[in-house]
């Protein structure tokens, strides 16, 4: 059998080389695209998560505005009724008329020999409790001193924002003070570092320095 000493490689070698190169290029190309696409999806998910969180923050601030308006009204009513008990008629206001027990308590307080400041403080505490209890989505917290409240805003399926506040005494620098603001995980999954319902304690924010302007 004659052997041809040809300088050219055999038929098929270039095809094999081409197939190998194309396989490598295709593999790297697909890997690059898949990785970049996964990165983009994670970035988009993170962006949505941040957006949802700040929507909940906005909703929480709107609720705080409503709470503050109720406390301002309670302050005004307490000032009026302590100044002149004739305003006991305002107790028929639907906000206060639901709680008959406080009628007797306020009546006793106003008829007692307490100082005007004590009368205002006592009435304010009761009025504030009544008004906060009526707000939708707000839970009144039983406290030995001034009443407190808490509410929750949904962030997304897995998280919610919980805010807890206490009302400041009548005549203070502020009407309320946020004591706790936390991000709650509604659902836990295996492998996560956080436990079931373990809250993330956020920065409580500065004290509110509101002046009394009924």
């Amino acid at each position: 059998m004659k052997q041809h000493n040809s300088p050219f490689p055999g038929v098929g070698a270039s095809s094999i080389l081409m197939i190998f190169v194309m396989l490598c290029l295709t593999t790297f190309g697909v890997l690059s695209y898949v990785t970049a696409d996964a990165d983009r999806k994670i970035s988009t998910k993170n962006a949505e998560s941040v957006e949802n969180y700040y929507k909940a923050v906005s909703a929480a601030q709107a609720k705080l505005q409503k709470i503050d308006a109720e406390l301002l009204r309670a302050q005004y009513d307490a000032k009026r009724i302590a100044k002149d008990p004739i305003y006991l008629g305002l107790m028929s206001d639907s906000v206060y008329s639901e709680n008959k027990d406080s009628h007797a308590e306020i009546d006793a307080l106003l008829k007692s020999g307490a100082s005007p400041d004590e009368k205002r403080s006592g009435c304010y505490r009761l009025f504030a409790s009544a008004r906060l209890a009526r707000l939708p989505g707000v839970t009144l917290l039983a406290a030995s001193g001034t009443p407190g409240a808490s509410f929750t805003e949904k962030v997304d399926e897995n998280r919610s924002l919980s805010v807890t506040l206490i009302t400041e005494p009548y005549g203070g620098n502020a009407r309320y003070r946020i004591t706790e603001q936390k991000l709650l995980n509604n659902r836990s999954s295996e492998g996560e570092s956080m436990g079931d319902g373990e809250p993330i304690h956020l920065w409580p924010g500065p004290s509110n320095s509101a002046t009394e302007n009924p």
Binding site: H4, S6, F8, P9, V11, G12, S14, S15, L17, M18, V21, M22, L25, T26, G29, V30, S32, Y33, T35, A36, D37, D39, R40, I42, S43, T44, N46, A47, V50, E51, Y54, K55, V57, S58, Q61, A62, L64, Q65, D68, A69, L71, L72, A174, R175, Y176, G205, P206, N208, S209, A210, T211, N213
Partner: protein
């Protein structure tokens, strides 16, 4: 000799076919690489935009009065339309603040709404990309802060 010539002809025909298929496949693969690069660029852009917007939102949360301004906006261009103050910051491709041929714009609209007990400040934070057709949104974030007692 005829066999040698035919061998060379076969080789060249094969090489031409190989180069043809290689160029077609390379064109497709290069498009895949370009798409991957574009996706990476979008992801990077969005990530930085989220960080910038969140920074402003957090600074708003930390303000102590409705008239105060987030520190980042101290050097921003300010315009007012219909009771809403707009603050604009300009960034280049590397997200360095610049006024010369900016690539990205951070637009913050702050609106104060007085209420009975205080003032509510609403912020609409937008990160925009500048191109030949104008400005297109990259990311938008809305936040708010209520300041009790500051009427």
């Amino acid at each position: 000799m005829k066999n040698g010539t035919s061998h060379i002809h076969s080789f060249f025909v094969e090489i031409i076919l190989v180069l043809l298929f290689f160029s077609l496949s390379a064109a497709v693969t290069l498009r895949v690489f370009a798409a991957a690069g574009q996706r990476a660029q979008q992801s990077s852009e969005l990530s930085v935009a989220v960080v910038r917007a969140e920074d402003i939102a957090e600074q708003l949360s930390g303000l102590s009065s409705p008239g105060a301004l987030p520190k980042t906006l101290a050097s921003a261009q300010k315009t007012e339309t219909g009771g809403t103050a707009h603050y604009r910051l300009f960034f280049d491709r590397k997200w360095v603040e610049t006024t010369d041929d900016p690539r990205y714009v951070l637009d913050v609209a702050l609106k104060q709404t007085p209420a009975a007990g205080g003032t509510r400040v609403d912020a609409a934070i937008s990160v925009l990309r500048r191109n030949s057709g104008g400005e297109s949104p990259v990311y938008t974030l809305n936040s708010a802060k209520y300041f009790p007692g500051a009427v």
